[in-house]
């Protein structure tokens, strides 16, 4: 099925509505529209897209986080939203950069109920705080865990093991 909307159409509409909080558009290999947005406005943009009469972006595909230690600390963490309009067969990706010291962003659980656990998972792995989330606690890891494992500085293996000699495992 062909998409009924084009990337430029949607991007210019968002730019017209929200202006300067929209950053760069990024080209990716899969041709999906990628837009960098300001973290303070992400909730409003998503809600506007949800309620837009033509675009009907009413399906949340995914929320995830990325840790990019190569960036400066103001932009070290990133939240990525994958949205989908089923009627128009159009996908788009919103990205918001967050600082490593205070990674807060507004929650979208009032727009999409699916965001509840997705945001909890992103918090569990990266430590990104979603303001307004009804129950922001760890979901997949143990409650007693005191670090955010998907950040790049932490190892995959359990650091507290004594019975494994790292020399034999190439580490």
């Amino acid at each position: 099925m062909e998409s009924k909307l084009t990337n430029d159409q949607v991007l210019s509409a968002i730019r017209a509505q929200f202006g300067e909080v929209i950053g760069e558009e990024q080209q990716t290999t899969d041709g999906i529209l990628n837009v960098f947005v300001d973290a303070t406005k992400s909730h409003d943009i998503i809600e506007w897209l949800y309620k837009h009469a033509d675009f009907k972006v009413q399906f949340l595909t995914n929320i995830t986080g990325i840790h990019i230690p190569e960036n400066d600390p103001e932009n070290e963490l990133m939240v990525v939203y994958h949205l989908h309009s089923l009627q128009n067969n159009f996908r788009l990706r919103l990205k918001a950069n967050l600082s490593i010291d205070n990674p807060t962003i507004g929650t979208i659980t009032d727009v999409f109920s699916a965001a509840n656990w997705l945001e909890r998972e992103t918090y569990d792995f990266f430590g990104i705080i979603f303001e307004g989330h009804p129950n922001l606690v760890r979901i997949l890891n143990e409650d007693s865990m005191d670090y955010f494992p998907m950040r790049k500085q932490y190892h995959l293996e359990d650091e507290t093991r004594q019975d494994k000699d790292n020399r034999f495992f190439g580490r």
Partner: protein, 410 residues
């Protein structure tokens, strides 16, 4: 044994609370994490009034195996075995979806024969997944015979996987760019046999449940969800189609030549357990239709793309030619030239849209790989689906959602 075992002592659960209300006493009941009817390890703490469920609180993560962190450590072709273990009832779909993601990022085109072969294998996997789900719905209502019958059919599907990749369940089937071997003679015999005899046995299984009074009483009106709530909860796959929305990734963003085949998307109306059962039954029939078309029109040609940087060369060449030796060494060591970039690719898995969000920085391993797992997202709706229903309804609803623990927790 030198570890501190104190941390493995379980906290004794609190006493059963009971508050006297106008209706009666409210009890707290722990459904799980180990329970014969939770097909997987998840815990639901229910507040029940007699048999009626008032609220439910979920705990997941009992089988969290850190796939995403593991993927950052492994080269691209070594990630296929861990994708197996997502939805392990239909692992070929996960494998082939991963290979397609890497091909999308690297700009690799696969030959037509490979695409048709992939369709055949993925539809067989879908049939296997739906067979488990439906027979387990039967088991939860008390009918064990369907389970024993359909597992024989699953063994026949396993035999077919073994012909190609050697494994039964966690198949690691296919390679980046194609398959490791062509369909063997044994495979052709087995699939012709399967296509000839399976439909009749499937109809026997169907006739046991579809108009069975007891089954209908147990499943109609149980665990229903409306289409609007389902879309808001991010439902995909047979669960969404049972609620009335005909969203299927194979039709909306076709991949691997699905646009060549003619098949229908079954859609339910009420979104309850009976509709989910019927949608899966019909999807098995549609999958058989696709396999028949694909197998009849299987084009001739190579069974893998001509990409020596990704696909292992023949062993005879490795021992005799220099380039083959170098390619072999580089691939085994993980030095595949996947370019830097970002893709999101989705396939229609047994449970719906299984997505792979891959970011590569040009290195040996992915920079970030995230699996968009349908089970994780739609399981959130479970409390809403069972509130107000009885305990036995909760059990049947859970099995009809086909929540696979491996996919839930990743």
């Amino acid at each position: 044994m030198s570890e501190d075992l104190e941390k493995y002592k379980m906290n004794v659960p609190a006493e059963l609370e009971s508050e006297d209300t106008i209706e009666g006493e409210i009890a707290t009941l722990n459904l799980g994490p180990t329970h014969p009817a939770t097909h997987g390890i998840f815990q639901n703490i229910l507040k029940v009034d007699g048999e009626k469920i008032l609220s439910s609180e979920q705990t997941v993560g009992y089988i969290h195996r850190a796939f995403e962190k593991l993927a950052e450590r492994r080269p691209f072709h070594q990630i296929a075995p861990i994708t197996d273990r997502l939805n392990y009832c239909s692992s070929p779909i996960n494998n082939i979806g991963w290979h397609m993601t890497v091909e999308k990022l690297s700009g690799i085109e696969v030959p037509k024969r490979v695409q048709y072969m992939r369709v055949i294998i993925m539809e067989l996997a879908r049939i296997a997944d739906h067979l488990i789900c439906n027979s387990v719905i039967g088991v939860d209502t008390g009918a064990l015979t369907g389970f024993t019958w359909m597992f024989i059919e699953r063994e026949r599907i396993y035999d077919m996987y073994e012909e190609i990749c050697g494994a039964r369940l966690t198949t690691n089937i296919g390679r980046i760019g194609g398959f490791e071997r062509d369909f063997t003679e044994g495979f052709h015999k087995k699939i012709q046999d399967f296509l000839a005899t399976f439909p009749k046995r499937f109809e026997e299984f169907d006739s046991m449940f579809l108009r069975n009074r007891i089954f209908m009483d147990r499943t109609i009106g149980v665990g229903g969800i409306s289409a609007e709530r389902a879309l808001n909860y991010g439902f995909v796959g047979p669960n969404l189609r049972a609620a009335g929305v005909d969203y299927d990734v194979r039709v909306h963003s076709p991949y691997s030549s699905y646009e060549d085949f003619e098949f229908d998307i079954p859609v339910g109306t009420a979104g309850d357990t009976y509709d989910r059962f019927c949608v899966r039954q019909e999807e098995v029939r549609q999958s058989l239709r696709i396999i028949n078309q694909a197998y009849k029109n299987l084009p001739e040609g190579p069974y893998h793309a001509d990409i020596p940087e990704f696909y292992l060369p023949k062993k005879a060449d490795v021992y005799n030619k220099m380039e083959a030796l170098i390619y072999h060494f580089k691939i085994i060591m993980g030095e595949t030239p996947v370019p830097a970039g970002e893709v999101y690719h989705s396939v229609e898995g047994g449970n719906g849209e299984l997505g792979y969000y891959l970011i590569s920085d040009g290195g040996r391993t992915p920079y970030r790989l995230q699996f968009r797992r349908p089970c994780f997202i739609y399981y959130q709706a479970y409390p809403e689906m069972i509130t107000g229903q009885s305990l036995s309804d909760a059990v049947v609803t859970l099995s009809s959602l086909n929540v696979i623990a491996g996919e839930l927790d990743a």
